[in-house]
């Protein structure tokens, strides 16, 4: 089979999936630029694309505030997760110690338990500390639930960095600290950046914890803000909802499209090793 025939065949076979994947993006985009009068029309295409919807949406939905909340929570959670995960992943990949296996299993179990299973207990924990509506409480919960994934990814990358380089540095009488900062960390930077970005995306998209802990609209993150435009309303302004969903989704989707090949490597290594 020539490459050309195979390409045609593969694209044909993939086409149902491609349609299924792109359909929601099309719905999002087309609805977002429909003039209000046409939103409830069952026609696919608007008579004209109305770009002003995006600016109006920004004001009508309180998008800016939710965006700032999301950036703050995801940014802080990513910093904390990465800060505690790097040393742990380094220890797992470079040290042998009693309890190493137990620690790995603990991480595994905490990764299995999604926040929804613990949501009643989490709510009580946060409520007992008087932190309902606190973005910091949500940040800490996110950091805790992402630590396992982050350590997991990092240690699978760290394990691929050859130890010989560090050993060579020791022979040259570098101190352990120098070895770490001059030899190991520079090599590990790409892995850390990629893992941090994935943590960011995970927290950016989180739903249940934010839905439970954030009760006041001023504290809403983007997913909750957009959900609140839909849930329990009599009339939903779908063109604004779709415009908001579109603006919240596209930057992350572009970032992700660029990074997905790193994920293939990291996950495949981490899942079976």
């Amino acid at each position: 089979m020539s490459k050309l025939t195979r390409s045609v065949l593969y694209w044909l076979l993939l086409s149902p999936l491609v349609v299924l994947v792109l359909f929601p993006f099309a719905v999002m985009f087309i609805t977002a630029v429909k003039p209000q009068a046409e939103v409830l029309d069952p026609a696919w295409w608007p008579s004209a694309a109305r770009w002003a919807n995006f600016a109006e949406m920004w004001r009508a939905t309180g998008f800016g505030g939710a965006l700032l909340n999301s950036l703050y929570v995801s940014g802080m959670a990513t910093v904390i997760t990465t800060a505690v995960s790097i040393p742990a992943a380094y220890a797992l990949s470079r040290y042998r110690f009693a309890g190493r296996g137990a620690f790995r299993q603990f991480l595994l179990v905490s990764q299995m338990l999604s926040p929804i299973v613990l949501v009643v207990g989490l709510f009580r924990l946060v409520a007992a500390m008087g932190l309902i509506d606190s973005l910091h409480a949500v940040t800490m919960v996110y950091a805790a639930f992402n630590t396992a994934f982050s350590v997991w990814m990092l240690q699978s990358y760290f394990a691929t960095i050859p130890k010989d380089l560090e050993e060579a540095a020791w022979i040259e009488r570098a101190s352990p600290f120098q070895t770490l900062t001059r030899v190991f960390l520079p090599l590990a930077v790409p892995a850390m950046v990629v893992t941090a970005i994935f943590t960011f995306i995970n927290t950016w998209n989180e739903f249940v914890v934010a839905l439970t802990m954030l009760r006041q609209q001023s504290a809403y993150t983007l997913p909750i803000q957009i959900f609140s435009l839909v849930a329990g309303r009599y009339t939903v302004e779908w063109h604004y909802v779709m415009a908001a969903a579109f603006v919240a989704t596209i930057p992350v989707a572009i970032l992700f499209a660029w990074l997905q090949r790193y994920l293939v490597r990291g996950l495949a290594l981490g899942a079976v090793k």
């Binding site: 040290y95 620690f103 999604s114 779908w238 997905q260 090949r261």
Partner: protein, 289 residues
Amino acid sequence: MGRRATAYCLILPSFLLAAFIVLWPLKEIINLALHDVNRFGLLRAFSGLANFRTLFADPDFLAALWRTLVWTAGVVGGTLAVSVPVALMLNGDFYGRGAARVIVMLPWAVSLTMTAIVWRWALSGESGMLNSGLRGLGLIDGNIQWLAEASTAFPMQILIGIEASIPFTTTILLGGLSSVPDELYDAAAIEGAGAWDQFRFITLPLLRPFINIAVVLNTIYVFNSFPIIWATTQGGPANSTDILVTYLYKAGFRLGKLGEAAAVSLIMFGVLLVFTLIYVRLAMREEAA
């Protein structure tokens, strides 16, 4: 400072953070599940397994339990059936492979909440773009009220679940395929093995550990998945699309039945522990092999 002490210092922060936020709520939940709890969360008398008994006497809970099984099996099975051929194709050499990979991975980048909200709109009966699209193609005559009945809503939710699970599964399988050495296929081709035989006797056995792990991890994720059902139907109409997680959320935060919600959590925790043990055994067998 000894090497061992250094290692413990390095893992300590991550351990404390994860332990505090996982173990404390777990203790709370065990406590709640075994007590009679009022709707403001005050513990009254120790009630043993009464909360569990109430659950198993509730037909809605039993229906949600059963539906969780269908949901998990449907999404995980459907995802695998699509992902294996897709991964095989994406691992092959063809024009536009880079673009195809990006498209297949794309749903991963979108939060489940957004995906579900967009689908909720696309599936709306009167003005939904799915109905108008299907009508335009001449596939249906009248509008279908997709989300108004469990018999159409639940299959659509499973389809959305499959769409959202394909990227992760394909990623794991692609990682597995990239570890299959090309020489094996060359050797098999010389021996006269056809494409199907090569798949059956080379690809599938080497891919099996990755398939196993993808299935177990997907089972865990799908079993826990809340946003798709919550943002499309909130378990409705009349609780007919509830799965355990939405039942739990309603019991805890809508109906104020905290004891029962905690009991559901513990039941789910038990099931997840079993899945986790299966995963650990599969991963360990892999390591030993």
